[in-house]
Amino acid sequence: VTDRPRTVALYHLRTLQIGLSWTDLFYMREGEILDMVREMENDHAKYDELATQEDFDNFG
């Protein structure tokens, strides 16, 4: 996760980190790739509060 300015080089690096091949890029929208990058970053998101099993049980 980074605050660095979005450059083409950084975009290209992220596509490689996700594991997309050069040919894959031609069959996807840039927006879809950005979604994947965001989801990768969201894996590291920190939440102030997380639901417990008790919270889930109380849904019923």
Binding site: V1, V8, W22, L25, M28, L34
Partner: protein
């Protein structure tokens, strides 16, 4: 993400993808985003934004629109980004034309300034002026993400 434009009775197909930005930078040395970043900065000025809205609202017609357009023309940054828009349209058109008409692994051979110039000869200048918004829409649709960032910058 395709767009088809008919010109002089011939059908031209354009395709934007996840590779467009990389190909564009490879040939033209800049990112297609640069134009829109510069434009956004110019439009941050409230007076420029207001004048642009007046021109747009009236379709560039009428005394009020004429006055607003004249004011816009006094702003060199506005003029510069407006002219850059046509450069963007030509350049984006070429990259997306290649993507629609060549196999991914063959495109690199077409990424030369000479081939770009020869391709431009298929059109007169008004084609790009008239279709600039078509390429802007293709660009915008291509880059639009849907997922929101959580803890952005964390």
């Amino acid at each position: 993400m395709f767009r088809t434009i008919i010109y002089n009775g011939k059908e031209y197909r354009f395709k934007a993808s996840g590779a467009t930005k990389i190909l564009y930078k490879r040939l033209f040395g800049v990112s297609p985003d640069d134009y829109f970043m510069d434009r956004a900065e110019v439009m941050n000025d409230p007076i420029t934004r207001k004048n642009a809205e007046i021109v747009q609202k009236n379709g560039g017609k009428g005394e009020e629109a004429d006055k607003a357009a004249l004011e816009l023309m006094k702003n060199p940054e506005y003029v510069k980004t407006t002219l850059s828009f046509y450069d963007f349209a030509q350049q984006y058109a070429y990259i997306t034309y290649l993507e629609a008409n060549f196999e991914p692994l063959k495109i690199n051979e077409e990424l030369t300034v000479d081939k770009f110039v020869v391709w431009l000869m298929n059109f007169d200048e008004s084609f790009f002026r008239e279709n600039a918004t078509n390429f802007q829409k293709l660009y915008q649709t291509n880059i639009k993400p849907e997922v929101e960032a959580k803890n952005a910058g964390a």
